[in-house]
């Protein structure tokens, strides 16, 4: 590790022809940290992961993973990382045990340790007694646990999880994150990409990638204080859709409007003024105001704000 950092990224850039997929991205991930990597589809998250896993060469900049340079020593990087892809990538036509034997061979786990590691994976994934089954016979949540456990079969120091909880029910998701906490506590660095902002709240640090640029980086708490200079008002109205349209047309005293379920969030500088304006505006349109209150900005609010700022820049 370099300075206690598992991953160090500086000025990482990837261009495909003229298209800049990843532009000048820099961040660090500490040993044992849970790092969440967010961003809309097509933002370059997968490109960053592929570079960090030694699959793709950067155009500019460099990064070290587990102390090894990704461009100069990709094989050393690969030996020290685990990876769980978005698609389930265990072999469906082999039994779980055969799958584990295969990966044990691939990572050259010493023969004396193989049985122990296999047992560990089975226990951690809660699959005792199911070793002779095939992955396709398992329900979704168990499959994901199996995939995660398999990715740490060879005891890597860092594990990359690419949207590991897609399509998984909330309870299984919860259990899955318990597993991630356990890994982190045992000193394994977890780099996870996700679309779920509630999952992002569980991370030690977050990076938000928006079309190749890292527009936010820090712990969830830091992000809420650093990036949000405005306040969020939650407005409950009798006709939320119309209210949203009306408020959306306003400018000056409010920045962004968005809708969360039946509630409208608006970001404003002056809470008092905004409150008054909302009441007047909605009343004159015959919409009843059921409540206005200031709330703590959620990560989603922050990201929407940041995206808006980015779009305004371009």
């Amino acid at each position: 590790m370099v300075n206690g950092n598992s991953i160090e990224v500086s000025n990482l850039t990837k261009k495909f022809g003229d298209f800049v997929a990843v532009g000048d991205v820099s961040f660090d991930v500490k040993e044992g940290e849970i790092f969440g990597f967010l961003g809309p589809n097509g933002s370059g998250k997968s490109t960053v992961i592929r570079m960090l896993c030694g699959l793709l060469d950067p155009t500019e900049g460099h990064a070290t993973v587990a102390g090894y340079d990704i461009a100069k020593n990709p094989d050393d990087v690969k030996r020290n990382i685990g990876y769980m892809s978005q698609r389930f990538s265990l072999y469906e036509d082999l039994t779980i045990e055969q799958n584990l034997d295969f990966f044990a061979g691939i990572y050259k786990i010493p023969r004396a340790r193989i049985a122990e590691r296999k047992q560990y994976v089975i226990d951690v994934a809660n699959l005792k007694g199911l070793e002779k089954r095939r992955p396709r016979e398992l329900p979704g949540g168990l499959r994901q646990r199996l995939a995660l456990a398999t990715s740490i079969l060879h005891e890597p120091k860092i594990v990359f999880l690419d949207e590991p909880t897609g399509g998984v029910d909330p309870i299984s998701r919860r259990k899955f994150w318990d597993l991630i906490y356990a890994l982190s506590e045992s000193g394994i660095t977890v780099f996870v990409t996700t679309h779920f902002l509630d999952e992002a709240e569980h991370c030690n640090n977050i990076g938000f990638l928006y079309f190749g640029k890292l527009i936010a980086y820090g712990s969830p708490k830091e992000l809420k204080t650093k990036y949000m200079t405005q306040s969020i008002l939650e407005v409950k109205a009798s006709q939320p859709a119309e209210a949203l349209t009306i408020l959306g047309n306003e400018s000056g005293w409010l920045e962004e409007t968005s809708i969360f379920g039946n509630n409208i969030h608006i970001s404003v500088d002056d809470v008092e003024l905004a409150g008054r304006n909302v009441r007047t505006l909605l009343a004159s349109n015959n919409i009843a105001v059921l409540g206005i209150e200031e709330i703590e900005p959620s990560l989603e609010d922050i990201f929407i704000h940041l995206i808006d700022q980015e779009n305004k820049k371009s």
Binding site: D75, K78, S85, L90, D93, F102, I106, Y107, K108
Partner: protein, 374 residues
């Protein structure tokens, strides 16, 4: 490195074993093709349907007719009263050949004059027609020389036949078409199975996404390649051995020449086929396109242009040129040389060398392309 290759090969074996459908195809198709081509299909023309119009009805004419029927080549359908009836039978397809013996057959024979026999042949199938017409000619000639010998003995002269033509067919005396076809079948079956199975195997991993897990692991592309192809190599070797044994036991095809050279030639051919499959797998991203490419590159060229069924010597120049890139052509030359003829390597060393080049070229191409894409 060995450990990784072993892990990959072992997994591949499990998967092949598990995929009973493909396994069945892999075993069944060669067996079926060989049995079919060896036993059922044949270019041998036997049991030609013969109708005879014996207008003479004498001992001599009946003797003449009998000379045709003593072999498997002609089957007498019926005797007919006239040429016209004979023509109708050919048109209806109930007879392939009609032989008409004129009414003055025995009279001319006894009188020492030459007799004209008429043979009507159904030209619809030109292969059969040519052979049938030839057979009629041969039988007539042989009867003719028999009569001539007898006549000469009567007047005290020794039998004298101007040109005594006795063909001796080497390597395949009975002219069994199975001996001609089965070696070609070997090449056909083996190139298809090696190319197809390797190509599909890798593309399947691409399609299912499991190849990504491979790329992220410390497995090198070389280890991956070797591990993936080892099982198919083993299967192809077993297949080749079985086919040679089947050829020997079922079709009387011996191994007259050098067994070590035969083994080497087959080895290079198999390696070349595996390389081809690997190269194709880098071009296709779905199993369907891999199947299409593999089949296109092997089935038609081998069937039509390897000399398997259609002799290359008879082809127009352009096609002959194309046959230089059909690998099965070279295997066939070596196979026919070693199995049927027992020739030494000097007779077919160019073909052998071509096989070595084939193996080398495809493997290099495959490695180079795999490094880029995997």
């Amino acid at each position: 490195m060995i450990e990784r290759i072993f892990a990959i090969a072992r997994k591949e074996f499990y998967q092949i074993w598990r995929d009973k459908r493909s396994l069945g195809m892999l075993a069944f198709v060669p067996t079926f093709t060989i049995l079919l081509f060896g036993f059922a299909l044949s270019f041998d023309t036997k049991h030609i349907k013969l109708a005879v119009a014996d207008l003479d009805q004498t001992n001599q004419s009946r003797q003449f007719v009998q000379s045709f029927l003593h072999s498997e080549y002609f089957d007498l359908v019926t005797e007919i009263p006239s040429t016209v009836v004979g023509q109708k039978m050919i048109e209806a397809g109930t007879a392939d050949v009609v032989v008409v013996i004129p009414v003055d057959f025995s009279k001319k024979m006894i009188g020492g004059e030459s007799v004209d026999i008429q043979a009507l042949v159904n030209g619809g199938n030109s292969n059969v027609a040519t052979t049938a017409a030839n057979y009629v000619g041969i039988f007539a000639q042989s009867y003719s020389s028999l009569i001539r010998t007898a006549a000469m003995q009567k007047i005290g002269r020794a039998a004298y036949i101007p040109v005594d033509y006795r063909p001796r067919i080497w390597f395949n005396p009975e002219l069994k078409s199975s001996k001609y076809l089965v070696p070609g079948l070997m090449g056909y079956v083996m190139i298809i199975s090696t190319v197809l199975s390797t190509a599909l195997s890798i593309v399947r991993e691409k399609e299912r996404g499991t190849i990504e897990q491979m790329m992220v692991s410390p497995v090198s592309s070389r280890e991956f390649m070797i591990g993936k192809t080892v099982p198919y190599f083993v299967i192809a070797c077993v297949l080749a051995t079985l086919i040679i044994m089947a050829g020997w036991l079922l079709f009387d095809i011996p191994v007259k020449g050098s067994i070590p050279i035969l083994a080497l030639a087959l080895l290079f051919f198999i390696i070349g086929g595996l390389g081809m499959g690997l190269a194709i797998s880098t071009l296709a991203s779905t199993q369907e396109s891999a199947f299409f490419l593999a089949t296109f590159a092997t089935v038609l060229p081998t069937q039509l242009l390897s000399g398997f069924i259609f002799p290359i010597e008879n082809m127009p120049v352009v096609l002959k040129a194309i046959t230089t890139i059909v690998p099965a052509k070279y295997l066939l030359i070596v196979l026919r040389g070693i199995l049927l003829k027992g020739s030494p390597i000097t007779a077919y060393w160019q073909a052998f060398a071509a096989l070595v080049i084939f193996a080398f070229l495809t493997m290099t191409l495959a490695i180079r392309r795999l490094k880029k894409t995997v």
